[in-house]
Each structure stands twice: as C-alpha cells, then as structure tokens.
C-alpha cells in the first residue's frame, strides 16, 4: 500500500545541540511532545506526508543527523542530498543564535555550487520569560540571509506545522518553477507516484522530463 505522493523532499534539521531538533521533528511526525524523561530517540529519519494543496501531497523525509557525524565526508553527504532544511536555534539560548551564521556557512560550503533552501526557526518560543533573542533581531538576521523566520514551540505545538509546510511550499514552488531540478543521483527531490487521475498535473510531467535530460 504505497502512499501516493507527488514528490519526496529530503530535509535536514540543523542547529546546535539541545535546541530541540529531535523534539521538533517528533512533534511534527508523531504529533506529540517528548517529555523530558523520555529517552531521546535519534532514529536516522522520519517521514510524513504533507498536503500543500488539495490532492497534492509531498512526502517529507526528515533527517536528524547533525552532531553524531564526526566525519566531514559524512556531513557533506547529508547536506548534499537534502533539498532544504530547518535551521534551529533556541530563543532562550543566545549562543545558539550566534552560531546560526556558522551553520549557514557550513551548509553553504557543503552544497556548493548549489544552494539549499533553509528556514530559520526560533525554537522554544513557549519559554517567553527566558527569551534571550528578540523576534526582531532574529527576523533581521533571517532577512540578511534571505531566509524566512518562524518561531515555534514543540511543547505547545506552536507553528510546528507552519514551519515545515512553509518550507515545503517554498521548495515546491522552486521545483515547479524549474529552479530546482530533479536529477538522477541526487536524492533531495524525488518524483513520486501519482494517482492516475486529474491530479497528474503538469508538474509531474515536467519533473519527469527533466529527469531525462
């Protein structure tokens, strides 16, 4: 029973440790918040379907890897095979915000000469009282790098959907416009199975055509 999806996007989630990457992913893929007492589940990847438009479903494959990889060749491969990602920082941890730049640089250096669609996420926005990074400065930083910015909370389920869906939409638009091309050997975007209905829209034909060349 293969699920029907138009594309599969492979995403990564990066950011300093303890910013809540795993929590965010699990909130998104499993719909619940992992209590502190729970063991951190570090499975390689999660996946979930997202319906960005009626009948248009995208399978997201989300890799939660950063940190455990000690070797450059490995990190590089993760970045390279992702079409986009969430760059997390913890709004209650100024340091994690300051490191955003170096994360960006790392991502950039690995995917050269291509680029990767990132979305800046200020996580743990439920902890307003301990906030160390204002929304304005985060937005400013995001603007400077041309990123979108969203504040989320996995605990209160604030904006978690939005973060992923926004990113997915952005990527989808880029794929549709041809700015991101599906390529053999690159696993960032895969063309999926489409039900044999009216939905077999021009995107799909376009995508498969690009595959050939």
């Amino acid at each position: 029973m293969e699920t029907i999806w138009l594309y599969q996007f492979r995403l990564i989630v990066i950011g300093d440790s303890t910013v809540g990457k795993s929590c965010l992913i699990r909130r998104f893929t499993e719909g619940r918040f992992a209590q502190v007492s729970d063991p951190t589940v570090g499975v390689d990847f999660f996946s979930r379907l997202v319906e960005i438009e009626p009948g248009k479903r995208i399978k997201l494959q989300i890799w939660d890897t950063a940190g455990q990889e000690r070797f450059r060749s490995i990190t590089r491969a993760y970045y390279r095979n992702s079409v986009g990602g969430l760059l997390l920082f913890d709004i209650t941890n100024r340091r994690s915000f300051q490191n955003v730049h170096s994360w960006l640089e790392e991502a950039q250096s690995h995917v050269q000469p291509h680029s990767i669609v990132l979305l800046l996420v200020g996580h743990k926005c439920d902890l307003e009282a301990q906030r160390q990074v204002t929304q304005q400065e985060a937005e400013k930083l995001a603007g400077a790098f041309g990123l979108r910015y969203v504040e989320t909370s996995a605990r209160d389920a604030i904006n978690v959907e939005k973060a992923f869906v926004d990113l997915t939409r952005d990527i989808f638009d880029l794929v549709r416009s041809g700015d991101i091309k599906i390529q053999d050997g690159w696993e960032g975007v895969k063309s999926g199975f489409v039900p044999n209905t009216v939905h077999s829209s021009e995107e799909v034909t376009k995508g498969s055509r690009q595959c050939l060349c």
Partner: protein, 1139 residues
C-alpha cells in the same frame, strides 16, 4: 509505515505500569505463547517487541533487573526466531527499527554488553534480509550504523571474533559500498570510518582489516571511483549546449564525496591502512587514470579521460587530500616525473611495499572479483591460515612460497596480492561449480589456492600484452629523452601543464592548470623542497628566484585577458594574478625581473585602453564601476568552491542563459563586456600596484571609513541645515536636521554637550538616493536611499525610505534642490575621478557646469575623503593635514604642480595637472576649486575636509561645485559666499535655472563663509577645522595666479560671476560688507590649497581670516614657516587681485 512508530514508546495509556519488570515478564509470556508468526498474531508480536524495547530503555536508566531477566530468558532469541520465519516486511521493518532505537538509547555500558552478548546481534547482522526492499535496506544499514557508533575498545569484541576472523558488522556493511542509494553508501562510509577508528587500538582487528579486507575493499573502491570518473568524462564529451550539466554536477559531487571519504580515512592516520590505500590510489587510479591521461595523444586507446577533466580532478585531489605520502608522490610525478613511472622498471613508489604495483605497471583495471566474493573467500582462507600468518609482512613471502610450491612461473609477479589470489581462486571455483562458501576444510581451500595460480598466470599473460604496447610507447619516449641532454630531464607532465596555459584560443585548460598549481602549492602535504626545486610558488616563503617560465605564461594570460576579444575568463585572470603574486612576492619585496614587470605594466596599460573603449558618461557606468569593485573585493575567488562547480568542466561559454556565474564564463553583450573590462582593469591595477609596493590611493571611489556614519559627532558650525520631520515608512517620526555633504546626506540631532555639534542619526550616499515630491503635501519630500549592492541582479534594498516634512514649502524646495543637485554632483565627481583613473581627458561637457567637470579632471586622485577624515577627527592638527598633502604628492599631476610652484614664480601651471586635457579654463576652474576647498571649513565640516583633500590631490574643483550651486557668494571669489543655505536656496529659486547653473557651478561653494562668523549661522567654532597651513598656501597661490594674465582674466570672470552671486546673496541674506571682505581674504587663501606643497606666503590676510584662537595658532606657525620657504617664490605679498 513510518507512522506506526508513533506508538512505540509509552502513550498507550494502559492502566498497568508498563515500565516494570512485571510487565516485561508478561511480555515474555506473550512471546512464548506466540512463537510462530501468523497473520493473526502479527500485530500483537510487533506491539510486544515494541513494548519490550521500551521497557529495556527504561530499565537501562532505572532498573537493571530488567536486563537480567532479558538475558536470563534469552529473549533475543525470540526476536531472531521471529525474523527467521520469513514473517514479511512488516515485521522485519518493525524489528529493525525497534532494535535501532534500542541500541541508540542504551546509555549504560553494562546494558549494552547484555544486549550484545550471545552473538545474537551478529546473527541479525548476517541475516539475509530482503534488501531489494528500499525500506528494509534503509533500516538495516541504519541499524549497522547505530551499532558502529557504539564501537569502542570493549564492545568491539562482541563484533569481531579474532579466532574465526569474523567481523560481520564491517564485512556486511562494506558489501553495500556501491549501493545505488547514496544514503546507504554514506552509512557504509560512516561504519567503515568508525571501525577504522576503533581498530587503531586493537592490533588483531587491525591486522584482520588490513590483511583480509583492505585490499579487496580498497581496490573495489578505487575501481568504483574510477568508473565514476570515466562516466564523468563521457558526460563532458557528449555534452551539447550544457544539457548534461545536471548529471555532470552530480558526478562531480560524487567524486568530491569520494575524495572526502578517502581523506577521512587517511586522517584517521592508521599507518597500515594508509599504506594500502595510498598504494591503490596512486597506482591504480591517480597515476594510471588521471596523470597518464595528461600526456597520451588523443588517438590512443589508452586514453581514458580527457586532459581537462583530469586536470580538474587532480586539482580536487590536491585541494582535499593532504596526506603527505600520497600527495607528495603524486605531485612528484606530475611536476618532476617522466613516463618511466609507467614502465616496470620504475621504482619511484617502491617505498610502498604493497603489492598493487608489484606487477610493475600501474593500471587502472577492474578488480577481477566482486568485493563480496573476495570477502567470502578471504574469510575462509583466513580461517585456515590465521595461525600461519599473523603478520601482514609475512604475507608476500608466504605467497611466494606457495607459488613456488605450485610450480607457477610467475616469479616476476611474486608480489601479486593475496586478494587477487583469492579472486582467481574464486573464479576457478566458480568455473568448477564448487561451492566456495562451504570450503571449510583446509584441503579444499588449499587446492583452490593452487588452481588459482594457474588462472592467475593466464590473466597475467593477458596483462602483458597491454604492458607491451605501453612499453613500446614508453621506450620511444625514453630514447627520445636519451637523445636529449642528460642534464635536462624530460618532464612530460609538467610540460603539458605549462603548455596548457596558453589562452590564445580559449582558457578551458588554463583555468584548470592554474587551479592545479594553486592547489599543489597550497597543499600541506607537499614537500616544500619539491616546489622550491622547481621554483614553483610556495605561499609565504622567502625566496630569491622564481620560475621564469611560469611567470611568463601568467603574464601572457593577463595580457590576453586585456585584449578586446580576449578569451580569458575572469576567474582565470584572478587566479593568474594570485599565482603571480605568490611567485614573485617574497616577504615584503618583489623579486620580479624588470623585463617581466614591464610586460605586466604593458598588460595593465592594455586593460586601461580596453576599459576606455567602454567608458561612458552615463550613470550606469558609475554604478557598474562601483558594483564591480564591491563584488570583486567582497567575493574574492575561492578556488575550492570553484573546483566544486561542475559547470567549468564544460567548454567556456558566453551565454548567461546557462546560469553560470559571470566570472566563470565569457561576457555576453555590451554591459557584460563593460563589466569584464572594469574587472580586468581592477585586477591588473591592483596587481601592478602591489608588485611595485605602492598603496592603492584611488580605489574604491568611496572608502567606507571616510564616510560619515551613524553616531558620528560632527562639527556643524557653518553647515547648512534644514530642520525637518522624518516620517519613516513604518510610521516612526523624528525631528531631524538635514545636512548635505559632498557625497552624503545625513540626518543629525544636536549634540547635547557641545555647542554647534551634532550627532548623526542617519547617513546615506547621495548617489543612491531618489527624491520625489509628495503629491498632496507641498512641504514634504519622499526620499529613498538604496543600499549599494554587489550583485547587479539583486533587488535594491532600501536603507532609508521616508517622508521628510519641512516647515514650509520653500524649505522643502530648498531641500529638494540641494539633494537633487548633491546627487548629480556626487555622481559627477565620481565620474571625473574615474576619468582621471583612466587618464581620460575630461571633456568640458557643454551643458554641465564647466568649472566642475574640469576641476574634476584636474584631480585624478580620490583623496578628498582621506583628507576629510583627518580634518574632521583632528581638526586642529595641522600636521595631519600636511601628511595628507604629502601623500598627495604621489599623484603625478599634483607632483608636477608642486615642483612648479616651488621653482617657478608662476604657479598657474601647477594647478592644472598635465593629465587634464582641458585648456586654460580648466586651470581657472581648478584654481577656484582650490579656493573653495580651502574655504570649505566654514561650511559643513565635511565640506571643508573634502575640499582640502582635493586641494591636496591637486584637484580642488569638484567639491566646490556642489556647494557652489547651492550657495552663490557675494564676494569676488565665489567660494567666499558664506551665506546661510536658506538664503542661497532662495536665490536659486529666484534666479533662472540657467543662470544659477552657470554661476553656481563656477562658484566654489563653501569656503569663506566659515571664516566669517557672521555669515555662518553658527558663529562658534568654525575655525577649528581649518588648518592654518593650507590657508597660507592658498594665499600664495593666489598671488601666483595674479602673475599670469590668463588666469587673471579667468579669475576676473569668476569674480564677476561671483559678484552676481554675492549680489543675490546680499539681497536674500543679510551679509555685511565686512563679511564680504573677509570672504575675499578667505578666497585668496583658498586658491593656495591647490598647491598644498607650496607653503609660501604667510600673509596677513590669513591671520585676518582666522577668527578663532585655535585656528590662529596653527596657522601662524605654518605661515611663519611658509614665509621663510615661500619668500622666494611668492612675488606678490598680498592677494589684492580679487579686489
């Protein structure tokens, strides 16, 4: 599928406490009741496994008795039992995922030992899953990876059995090294790297890995990489119109992945492994495939890849891998080797005792056996022989022994590797249909080993044929080499590299060669001796000689780049410049030979001519000029990134439609050609300056440090300010004063502590500003200032977007005019400076302000800013000013002027630098300009500074124009006009446009007003900023001017115009006669600044002008000095001409 994982932890809400030993017992009960998997109990079993895992993780942290029970009941066996029942995908996936989670989350060592004991995990690892299922594959490899992350010196014993030579985790994993799914390959790499890392501390394991697996694995890996490379080359060859770029970029990325992986292995620094790996890489991949392809003629069948591809890939190798033995040997061959390395006699690499090259000839050949097969065989053999050869070093001998025993005649190939042996053995076995897998008996395997040799011989014979052909070629080469002198060693590869630098047709190869040379010279792994011997550029090294050949070629590339139809891409040029600098700069001095420097200067000259062809007076040229400078300096070439870009692998193209970065392709269309010419000019100019040890004084046109910045505190005495309300786009309001500077507009607020000073709240470049009226409000202006961007395609980003609301519509008009004119003037000034940079005569454009243009031409240097800085920050320090002047001397025009003034009584000639083609009018203008500059102090601090600086540069005029337009002064010298700006603006309003344009432009705007306290709005400290020296000088100049008739007349003209201005001013503003006279004096002062060097007449006027004590002191000092010096040349003591 994935969704199922949802419920694996907790969350089931059962009444019973699920985290307990009791619950585990219950689960155990369930398992015992359901040993057989059926459709009915499948879900139950999966759920049970899940719960067990959960309890185990809980127990790991809370209750160790859980593990005791688990172990006691041997519950893992149930898992295995379930697996083996071919229970289907569903259960497999669930089990693997669960195990994965389990191992990932166990934190206690002891818990881990429990789980790993009894060899259950290894049983799972070797279980034959259905790997055709993508998801099972993913979970399986992920499981292995998790396990490999748990490897350490203790746990490794659970995985590696040294008695049986089993290491399932590793051997099963590497079987997937070429899996089509890249994530699987990546996981395999992680596993191997983790294993290698642990093996460092475990001799047995290390030996096992090296003896039994390294050769098969690495040879297959190398073959895999090589196959990709050949595919890559094919992709390049068959490309049409860049259609293959997607695939190509993927293949390039793949190659990079491989190199990074190899490098990761090498930097683990496991010597044994590195030896084997290095040997394979060198002798089976880099040398035979990459390097050899550099010199084989195109027609030869031996040529597997094209030279440009091979150069590109070699660059990547050197950029990424720094392992000394490897890169050094490789570089040695390329830079110093000859073809003998491809003949059996060569023993260059004999230091690697390994056997891959034992055949004597490097070949890029497919391993005769699949990795899986070799592993399997080596495992069986290993079992048999473990006792026999614990040491790798004995290996070869033993092989020899065996071979001798078998009567094989392959003595010459005694070093053939054991794995090949195995491979052949495998073939034989296959052929005979015997089952290799079952070969447990030593007899059987022994037999297989013997037959293997026979087959091996056959194979070797085949090889010999190919060797022969190779040898033929090399023999010819050798004889050819022999006929040459012995002293001159033939270096076919190096020759090829150098000859590929030729760019007369295109720079396709040259770019790669440059990258390769760059990469080699920057590699940490390469012995500096080698580079020095060949006189190749070694960064940051003192040296006294350089490779003439290389530098000659580099300069040729540059000069080709400067040709109008040059086919050299910007990246190539930038890299050449880089390498040239590296070659000839030793420490702080340059060792380039004069001849070559001359050639380089020639190239620079050509680039200048090239750019002149594109020079236009249009606004866009200025924008381009500055954009290019910004993008060149903000994004210096990153060779590593360049070599990651597959698009350069395709022949250079000119069309932007390919999406290739501008610097990596040829220009298309006039705009891009202009941009390219600008860049070429910049690069060669900067190179030439650097080689000659001269600082860049004219670029960028505006240095950020010279600009007014937010929070600067400025002396606003004598500045013209207009109060306004700034309403920003988001509705914020602020009361500010608007000040217009030469290059900038700023919004200031009064400084609370110092009278007459203001704090800058915003400053923006006039040239990037748009002013427009607001429809329904005659008192408001809409102002937008864009941030200058280095990317021509980027959307301009506004840094200011606001409505300025003034007290009344007249002030509004004044502000508008001031801003609009300021913008034009700022741009014009910059254009003039560009023209000066290009040694272009500045055409007196009829429509424009005459004086302005010419003055600009007169001033070739961008000095105003520099000067400005100093005067603003240290207004009272005359020495600072002087130093600036001194630096000015470098400008040729100025220097001339300087000399003249000193030696000849007629200083007139000096003001107009020779570079300016303009005639006498030009001089006049320049003079006026100078005056303005001198006087400028009175106005905005900024104005003053600029003008002074210009004066220093010898080109005073530009500055004045802006202010002049705004402020016509009543005094003879236009510069004198100190009138408050509002007045001026009124005047401009009243006077016809034409009039205002002419007169205004001619008039030097700023000067005198400051001197006169009355004239300026703020009478306080105007004097502070003025350096006395300049005043004195100015006076002298004036005198000099008088001497010359021409100039006098001109001055007269100006005077008239200025008078007009003054009259107007008088009408508009209450300026006293006294003020006017003062102004006159100041003007005279002003004239002098053009020749700052001349410090002649200390004249009474100067003293008069100085109202402030502060000013007086420095001035007097200067004037005293000046008088001494200048007495000789300044004939006229006074500057009465103006009167």
């Amino acid at each position: 599928m994935f969704g199922r994982s949802r419920s694996w932890v907790g969350g089931q809400g059962r009444t019973k406490n699920i985290h307990s030993l009791d619950h585990l017992k219950y689960m155990y009960h369930v398992l015992t009741k359901n040993t057989t998997v059926t459709d009915h109990n499948r879900n139950l079993l999966v759920e049970t496994i899940r719960s067990i895992t959960e309890i185990l993780i809980w127990g790991d942290q809370n209750d160790s008795s859980v593990f005791d029970f688990f172990l006691e009941k041997n519950m893992f066996a149930f898992f295995l039992n379930i697996l083996r029942q071919k229970s289907g995908r569903y259960v497999c996936v669930q089990l693997l995922q669960t195990l994965n989670i389990l191992f990932e989350n166990i934190s206690h060592e002891t818990s881990l030992y429990y789980l790993l004991s009894n060899n259950h995990v290894n049983s799972i690892i070797v279980h034959k899953f259905d790997f055709s299922d993508e998801e099972i594959m993913a979970y399986y490899i992920s499981f292995l990876k998790t396990l490999s992350l748990k490897l350490n010196n203790h746990t490794v014993h659970f995985f590696y059995n040294e008695h049986t030579n089993d290491f399932a985790l590793y051997t099963e994993a590497i079987k997937f090294f070429n899996h089509p799914e890249s994530m699987v390959r990546i996981a395999v790499r992680t596993i191997t790297l983790n294993v290698y890392k642990v093996s460092l501390d475990n001799q047995h394991m290390l030996h096992y890995i090296r003896d039994k697996t390294a050769v098969p694995y690495f040879s297959n890996l190398v073959w895999f990489i090589g196959s990709h490379v050949i595919e890559l080359d094919k992709c390049v060859q068959t490309d049409e119109e860049h259609k293959n770029r997607g695939k190509l970029s993927d293949l390039v990325a793949e190659h990079l992945d491989h190199l990074h992986y190899l490098n990761d292995i090498l930097i683990i620094n496991c010597e044994f492994l590195n030896d084997v790996l290095t040997d394979h890489l060198l002798n089976r991949l880099f040398l035979p495939l990459y390097v050899y392809s550099l010199v084989i003629p195109e027609t030869s069948e031996d040529r597997k890849i094209n030279p440009q591809v091979s150069l590109y890939l070699l660059s990547q190798v050197f950029l990424i891998i720094h392992y000394q033995p490897l890169v050094n040997a490789l570089a040695e061959v390329i830079l110093n080797g000859d073809l003998s390395v491809f003949t059996p006699q060569s023993d260059i690499h004999s230091s690697y005792k390994n056997t891959a090259s034992a055949g004597g000839v490097q070949r890029f050949a497919k391993p005769s056996e699949s990795l899986e097969r070799s592993l399997e065989l080596s495992r069986h053999r290993g079992r048999k022989r473990t006792q026999k050869r614990p040491n790798y070093k004995n290996l070869g001998e033993e092989e020899d022994d065996e071979k001798a025993g078998g009567g094989g005649g392959s003595g010459g190939h005694g070093g053939e590797e054991s794995w090949e042996d195995n491979g052949r053995g495998g073939e034989r076995e296959k052929g005979k249909g015997t089952e290799g897998g079952g070969g447990g008996s030593s007899k059987g395997s022994r037999a297989s080993g013997e037959t293997a040799e026979e087959i091996e011989m056959v194979v070797m014979e085949k090889c010999k044929v190919s060797e022969l052909t190779e040898q033929n070629i090399t023999d010819e080469e050798k004889t050819a080499a022999a006929t040459r002198t012995y002293a001159q060693r033939s270096r076919p590869f190096l020759d090829m590299v150098y000859s590929a630098l030729d760019c007369s047709n295109d720079d396709y190869h040259a770019l790669f060669v440059l990258c390769l040379l760059y990469a080699v010279s920057h590699s940490k792994g390469i012995n500096c001796d080698l580079l020095e011997r060949l006189q190749l550029p070694v960064p940051d090294q003192e040296r006294s000689s350089y490779s003439l050949v290389l530098v000659e070629r580099l300069i040729r590339v540059m000069s080709q780049a400067a040709q109008p139809d040059g086919k050299v891409r910007l990246a190539t040029l930038e890299l050449s410049c880089l390498l040239l600098k590296q070659s000839v700069l030793s420490g702080n001095h340059c060792i380039i030979k004069d001849v070559q420097l001359a050639c380089l200067e020639g190239a620079r000259e050509e680039s200048l001519h090239l750019l002149r062809r594109f020079y236009k007076g249009e606004e866009i040229f200025l924008d381009m000029f500055e954009d290019e400078y910004r993008s060149m300096t903000s994004k210096p070439l990153n060779v590593e990134y360049l070599m990651m870009d597959a698009s350069v692998l395709l022949p250079p193209t000119g069309t932007p439609l390919t999406g290739i970065d501008f610097v990596k392709r040829l220009p298309c269309g006039d705009v891009e050609k202009t941009r390219r010419a600008i860049r070429v000019f910049f690069m060669l100019r900067s190179l030439s300056l650097q080689l000659q040890g001269e600082p860049e004084t004219q670029l960028p046109l505006t240095r950020p440090e010279d600009l007014i910045k937010t929070d600067d505190v400025l002396d606003l005495n004598n500045s013209d300010l207009i109060a306004c309300m700034v309403v920003s786009k988001d509705g914020g309001q602020a009361q500010r004063f608007l000040a217009v500077d030469v290059y900038q507009m700023s919004l200031v607020e009064p400084e609370t502590k110092r009278l007459g000073w203001g704090v800058v709240k915003f400053a923006g470049l006039l040239q990037d500003m748009q002013v427009s009226g607001v429809e329904d409000d005659s008192r408001a202006l809409n102002i937008v200032i864009h941030k200058p961007s280095s990317n021509p395609h980027a959307k301009p980003l506004p840094i200011l977007q606001a409505n300025f609301i003034f007290a009344d519509h007249i002030r509004c008009i004044i502000a508008k005019q001031r801003l609009a004119k300021g913008r034009i003037q700022a741009r014009r000034m910059k254009m003039q400076r560009i023209a000066a940079l290009l040694d272009l005569p500045v055409q007196p454009s009829a429509t424009e302000v005459l004086g302005f243009g010419q003055t600009a031409s007169a001033s070739p240097s961008g000095l105003p800013f520099r000067f400005y800085e100093q005067s603003r920050r240290a207004p009272n320090d005359p020495t600072a000013n002087r130093s600036v002047f001194a630096s000015v001397d470098k400008v040729p025009g100025f220097a001339v002027a300087h000399c003249v003034s000193q030696h000849s009584p007629s200083p007139l000639s000096s003001p107009s630098p020779p570079s300016s083609g303009s005639g006498s009018t030009g001089r006049c203008d320049s003079v006026t300009a100078s005056t303005t500059s001198v006087q400028s102090p009175a106005d905005d601090g900024t104005f003053l500074e600029h003008t002074e600086g210009e004066g220093g540069g010898g080109e005073v005029t530009q500055v004045s124009s802006t202010p002049s337009t705004l402020v016509p002064s009543p005094a003879l010298a236009p510069s004198l006009t100190p009138a408050s700006q509002p007045n001026i603006s009124l005047l401009t309003d009243n006077s016809a446009d034409t009039l205002s344009v002419e007169s205004l432009t001619l008039l030097p705007p700023a000067g005198s007003p400051h001197l006169h306290p009355c004239a300026s709005h703020i009478p306080v400290t105007h004097g502070l900023q003025r350096p006395g020296a300049s005043i004195a000088e100015e006076e002298e100049d004036e005198e000099e001017e008088e001497d010359e008739d021409e100039e006098e007349t001109e001055v007269g003209r100006k005077g008239e115009q200025r008078e007009e201005g003054e009259l107007q001013e008088e009408e508009g503003s209450p300026v006293d006669e006294t003020d006017a006279t003062v102004k006159e004096e100041t003007t005279t002062d002003l004239v002098t600044p053009t020749e700052e060097a001349v410090e002649g007449g200390g004249e009474p006027e100067g003293e008069d002008t100085q109202l402030d004590v502060d000013r007086d002191l420095p001035q007097r000092d200067d004037s005293v000095e000046n008088t001494e010096d200048a007495g000789t040349y300044s004939d006229t003591p006074d500057s009465p001409e103006l009167d």
